[in-house]
């Protein structure tokens, strides 16, 4: 690990003054003078240890007062402070009562140890786990190189990679919690470098490599996430989350699906379907959602929804299995709320 100084920030304003870069900026154009935020630190330390970034200063935002609060109000919904840990979300009675799919997603993320350490903001801002991206020996497109190693027909190890929106970099977003938050149409609140507050739908927070290969989210140097807001589901809403992994114990997602539906009798009045580990960002299956409006959710309609969601799938050399896996997982999640 390179040497760095440590700035213990006392307030968000104080932190913003100190930070002058982001992990993404530092990967592309190492200045040797970068100061970047760290909260739980898991992804930052991982990248520092791997030699992908060499910040000169770490701005520790973990102990800033007020960023660790979580509250639920039926009118305004769930407010999760940037520093709330995944364990705190997992164990929140309000989350369990009103946000089933979010609770399920958090409980299946990472390990118990990491959930005790990970903050929600850090979880959403972490970089992709693509092994080529994570290897300092592979100057891939996302790190300023000229090719995608995973895409290579001959040598690409792409069994975990994207089957949707994979015309550019084929990596996956690492957060499976984001899948559930997308299905709940959550929003991200952040302060910019001037201290102005912005609120963006989570869908607009993530940036696909086909839009901008240099980044995975909209955050610019100095931007600091302060809160994640999740609207209150209207009455009659049911939700479910399913994650497919290679190991029973814990693992990165191969395919995960969150569904949030408002039911009217046995018919689906409104529904969101979010897919994780399908594309470089968590994505909504809009056409599948449309196909289910005013329909009874049963084996047939659930199967059709899965097929609709996978219609534009373009598997790489080694991840063809993901198409049937998503078909099954989408059906499974839908039938849980039927």
């Amino acid at each position: 690990m390179n040497k760095f100084s440590w700035y213990e920030a006392k307030s968000v304003e104080d932190a913003i003054e100190q930070a002058n870069s982001t992990v993404s900026e530092e990967i592309y154009t190492p200045t040797g003078k970068a100061s970047i935020y760290k909260s739980g630190g898991i992804d930052v330390w991982d990248m520092v240890k791997e030699g992908l970034i060499a910040p000169q200063m770490i701005v520790n935002v973990r102990n800033i007062k007020g960023l660790d609060k979580m509250s639920f109000d039926p009118d305004s919904g769930l407010s999760i402070g940037a520093n709330v840990t995944l364990t705190e979300i997992e164990q929140s009675p309000e989350v369990s009562e009103h946000y089933t799919a979010l609770q399920q997603a958090v409980a299946h993320a990472a390990t118990p140890q990491l959930r005790n350490m990970s903050t929600l903001a850090g979880n959403l801002a972490q970089r992709t786990r693509c092994w080529y991206f994570r290897s300092a020996d592979h100057p891939c497109m996302r790190k300023g190189g000229d090719r995608c190693y995973a895409r290579s027909q001959q040598t690409g190890q792409n069994e975990n990679h994207a089957i949707l929106d994979n015309g550019s970099c084929v990596s996956l977003h690492a957060s499976s919690v984001a899948t559930a938050l997308l299905a709940y149409e959550a929003s991200i609140v952040y302060l910019d470098a001037k201290g102005e507050s912005h609120e963006v739908p989570i869908e607009d927070f993530f940036v696909s490599p086909s839009q901008d290969i240099w980044r995975e989210n909209i955050l610019s140097p100095g931007d600091l996430i302060t809160e994640i807001k999740v609207p209150t589901p209207s009455s009659g809403t049911r939700s479910h989350y399913v994650k497919q992994v290679a190991r029973e114990s814990y693992d990165w997602s191969l395919a995960d699906v969150a569904v949030v539906a408002k039911m009217n009798g046995n018919k689906c009045e409104k529904i969101t379907i979010a897919l994780g580990a399908a594309a470089p960002t968590p994505v909504r299956a809009y056409r599948a959602e449309e196909a289910l409006i005013n329909q009874v959710i049963n084996k047939e309609s659930a199967k059709l929804a899965g097929e609709t969601a996978m219609a534009s799938a373009r598997p790489l050399t080694m991840n063809g299995y993901k198409v049937p896996l998503f078909l099954t997982t989408i059906s499974q999640a839908l039938l849980e709320i039927a």
């Binding site: 040497k3 440590w6 213990e8 920030a9 104080d14 630190g41 330390w45 520790n60 102990n63 390990t111």
Partner: protein, 212 residues
């Protein structure tokens, strides 16, 4: 990661030096070195200015409560808790295997919660208390989970064992009647390449019985 070759301040471990004694002993009068009484409480004192504080990149004297005893040690901002425990305090029971938070061999408790010492920086600990595998036994008696691991032959090469024990101790401290599924969930982060899981599960369930 480069191993810290600094001289250990393990004398603090055996004698429980006062801060004054530590400052004298370690000769921390050189420019640029500060004593870092870490943690939220310290920073929240109402007399503190609104600005934060910068530390490092060089050595910093800190105090850390480990296994019930206040320890003084010299670290850098990049010193992990695992390095601080193993190389500075000679508490080598905590193992570093993957060094990325993926295997949980380095599990310790911070304020009672299991975390990975390999991706926690020493400066992150602050005023919170660290409990390591060395702090699990009480009054010279092994913890029931440790006894049960021996009885049920729950370790082979032993590298995952300290972390595995910590996860199981945490479970039993919070759940009197754990099910097999509870034990599996508690050890979900602990990787064992030898495959001792069935014995770990049996040992933990048996320890739970004995602790009733």
């Amino acid at each position: 990661m480069k191993k810290n070759s600094k001289k250990s301040h393990a004398e603090g471990h055996s004698k429980g030096l006062s801060r004054r004694g530590f400052l004298r002993g370690a000769g921390l009068t050189t420019a640029g070195t500060v004593v870092f009484t870490t943690g939220v409480q310290a920073f929240e004192a109402h007399t503190q200015p609104a600005k934060g504080t910068s530390f490092g990149p060089g050595s910093i004297g800190i105090e850390m409560k480990v296994n019930g005893r206040m320890q003084s040690l010299t670290v850098e901002p990049r010193t992990t808790l695992a390095t601080a425990l193993r190389d500075h305090l000679s508490l080598t029971g905590t193992k570093v295997v993957c060094d990325r938070g993926s295997c949980s061999a380095c599990t310790v408790f911070i304020d009672g919660k299991p975390v990975n010492a390999c991706i926690t920086m020493a400066l992150d600990v602050g005023d919170r208390e660290v409990i390591t595998i060395e702090g699990i036994a009480r009054n010279g008696e092994l913890h029931p989970v440790q006894e049960a691991f021996i009885e049920h032959d729950a370790s082979q090469c032993g590298y995952c064992t300290p972390g595995m024990v910590m996860s199981c101790v945490h479970l039993l401290e919070n759940e009197e009647n754990p099910s097999l599924e509870d034990v599996k969930a508690a050890t979900r982060g602990n990787l064992c390449r030898c495959g001792t899981y069935p014995h770990v599960f049996k040992a933990t369930l048996s320890a739970a019985e004995k602790m009733k």
